[in-house]
């Protein structure tokens, strides 16, 4: 385990892991975003930022193959995910862990069964081993003792965390989190940030996070893309710290400073 840790940290920032080329996203004839171009490196914690309704969740659906691009391509290393055959894609999907915005736990299964199902399907572990691993993953997100609860019997924030445990079940290479900290209290969301950093360091996973939370963005992210609903494309990509320090785009600055700068400018005007 310590060995893999160093190997993982050595790999951080090395090879490109996810490459998006000229991606256009559309619902029917309604084009949401066009010409998205960015690269996520192995071991990155990559944040998708932007205002509400600009298409962050939709971009995530494209990255995991739930929606086909209207144009453009998505690569995982040199594997063309967009043009791949369904069975090749399915193999790729097993290396992903996904947390949906609504949690999306399977409502007819207990938490342990939710976390255990991927293990049951894709490994040769015995039921006891599966149960043990499921308990471990639930404990990691602070849900020790809730193994036999059904999703409807726990709170919204707890469902989010259980969804996270399920996403981590197969020790994936790439983790996708859609607003992981929405609905969590400030302390839990701090812990979640630490967990995300821990996952990257221990598993060497590449992590893609959709989030609005500035505190979280500056704690975890080392790479990002900024989507703008108005111009319907990305207006910045790179390390958010750098963006804050050097970006001259008022829209990026406004977002990263919570609009404080813009208000300040207005006040000094009036």
């Amino acid at each position: 385990m310590p060995g893999s840790g160093t190997a993982a940290s050595a790999a951080i920032g090395a090879e490109p892991h996810i490459i998006v080329r000229n991606l256009t996203m559309a619902y029917g004839s309604f084009v949401l975003m066009r010409d998205l171009n960015f690269t996520v490196k192995r071991g990155d914690i990559f944040v998708i930022m932007g205002g509400s309704g600009c298409g962050k969740s939709t971009l995530m659906r494209h990255l995991v193959g739930l929606k086909e691009p209207a144009a453009g391509e998505i690569f995982y290393r040199d594997f063309n995910f967009t043009r791949a055959q369904p069975h090749e894609r399915e193999l790729m999907l097993r290396r992903f862990g996904i947390l949906y915005q609504s949690g999306a736990l399977w409502s007819s299964m207990t938490l342990a069964e939710n976390v255990g199902l991927p293990l049951e399907e894709f490994t040769n572990l015995t039921p006891e081993q599966i149960r043990k691993i499921a308990s471990l993953k639930l404990a990691l997100v602070g849900l020790k003792g809730f193994e036999d609860f059904y999703p409807s019997e726990i709170s919204g924030g707890m469902q989010k965390r259980a969804g996270l445990a399920r996403a981590m079940a197969l020790d994936p290479e790439v983790l996708f989190f859609d607003e992981p900290s929405a609905g969590l209290d400030p302390i839990s969301s701090r812990l979640l940030d630490e967990l995300i950093l821990e996952l990257r360091d221990s598993l060497g996973a590449t992590i893609v996070v959709v989030t609005h939370e500035l505190a979280s963005i500056f704690t975890i992210a080392n790479n990002s893309v900024f989507l703008d609903a108005e111009s319907r494309t990305q207006i910045a990509t790179g390390d958010p710290h750098e963006m804050l320090a050097h970006s001259t785009d008022p829209r990026v600055r406004k977002f990263l400073t919570r609009g404080a700068e813009k208000n300040g400018a207005e006040n000094s005007h009036g």
Partner: protein, 382 residues
């Protein structure tokens, strides 16, 4: 209290035109619960020649307001913008000004309202036809995928949870027995009554047994069971899968590399295919008992004569036919329920629509299949 109520004046508006300025004097109580003046009268004034250059407001006579006034003002403002007329908000109370600014803070996203545009009739007919052909293609794809999955099921290679399968068997089998017996018994009674009225005139009331027996076994048993199961189980499938779609649970299966078709649809359709023939047989039996009840109580037949007559009328082939129908109807109901559930949109009302459409679709398909069976059996002389 009633004094002040009557003193509160209804919201009203007076227009003052002094060369290039149009002054709107707002008076009284502007509440939604009262009849408010329409913005159109003011807007008409804006379009008169020569057009005013500035619109200003005087609210000294205004005694109360709510969203009714805000929406009125927004309408006026948007007309002003359209005409390039300046609006001077100085005269408005600060609260109203802030709400208007808030409402205008986020510009409408172009393209989002495209759907609201009214299309010409040709375009709509075309859209409908295209939608039907896409729907048909979806149906065939689903059917194809399901056939492949069933093939896997038969070879024992499909991935699903036995618990799901057993639960659906329980729901669509034993738990449906009560309602199916009730309806089948009543249908048996109705058939017997219908026959009895005519047959009694010829003193041939014993043939009621034949009528009920053949009627139930050949058609009514399977048909009534199918209709009950469409409403009961087909709708439940659609609602359950639709809800899973809304909560992204189905996406979660797909992205995990687990086929939702094998995992969710297969156990449900297979459970119905297994349970429907059994339910149909049971319904046949209960229907015959219903007929016997009428025969014994009204026609003075004995139970054993009635049963002997019933048994003598139909052959083994009748039974097989009834079973084949039950199986087919089960598959159709499962298919319709699951398909509509999968096609469900992303809201709770879409789940309701999916359930309704599933029931309609399965009943239509069952009746159509019944017709097809009648023709086929006729050709085969069964």
């Amino acid at each position: 209290m009633s004094m002040t109520q009557s003193q509160l004046r209804q919201g009203s508006i007076a227009l003052d035109r002094s060369d290039s300025t149009l002054r709107l004097r707002l008076n009284g109580h502007w509440h939604l619960s009262r009849d408010l003046p329409a913005a159109s009268s003011v807007i008409a004034e804006l379009f008169k020649q020569p057009a005013p250059r500035v619109v200003s407001f005087d609210t000294s006579g205004l005694s109360g307001w709510d969203s009714g006034l805000i929406s009125f003002l927004l309408e006026v403002e948007s007309a002003c913008r359209e005409r390039g007329i300046k609006d001077d908000r100085e005269g408005l109370p600060a609260g109203i000004r802030r709400l208007i600014e808030l409402a205008e803070a986020v510009p409408e996203k172009e393209g989002t309202r495209a759907a609201a545009r009214r299309a010409s009739i040709l375009e709509r007919v075309g859209d409908r036809v295209l939608a039907y052909s896409v729907g048909m293609a979806d149906f065939l794809t689903f059917l194809g995928d399901l056939s492949i999955a069933m093939f896997k099921f038969v070879r024992g290679k499909a991935r699903y949870r036995t618990f799901d399968f057993m639960e659906t068997v329980q729901q669509s089998g034993p738990e449906a027995v009560g309602i199916v017996s009730l309806i089948a018994f009543l249908v048996g009674v109705i058939l017997a009554f219908m026959g009895a009225v005519q047959l009694q005139q010829f003193g041939a009331s014993i043939y009621v047994a034949d009528l009920v027996g053949i009627g139930m076994v050949r058609d009514m048993g399977a048909m009534m069971t199918a209709i009950i199961m469409s409403g009961r189980t087909g709708a439940a499938f659609a609602a359950k899968l639709g809800t899973m779609k809304v909560t992204q649970e189905i996406d979660a299966f797909t992205t995990m590399g687990i086929s939702p078709l094998e995992f969710l649809v297969l156990p449900r359709v297979m459970a119905l295919i297994l349970m429907m023939p059994l339910l149909c047989l049971f319904a046949d039996l209960v229907g015959i008992l219903g007929g016997a009840f009428v025969g014994i109580t009204m026609l003075d037949l004995s139970f054993s004569t009635y049963m002997r007559e019933t048994i003598s009328t139909f052959t083994f082939v009748n039974f097989i036919g009834g079973l084949a129908k039950g199986t087919t109807y089960g598959a159709l109901i499962g298919l319709a329920g699951c398909l509509r559930g999968f096609q469900c949109g992303n809201s709770s009302s879409a789940v309701g629509d999916a359930a309704t459409q599933a029931v309609v679709m399965s009943i239509v398909m069952v009746v159509a299949a019944c017709g097809a069976f009648a023709v086929a059996f006729n050709i085969l002389r069964i």
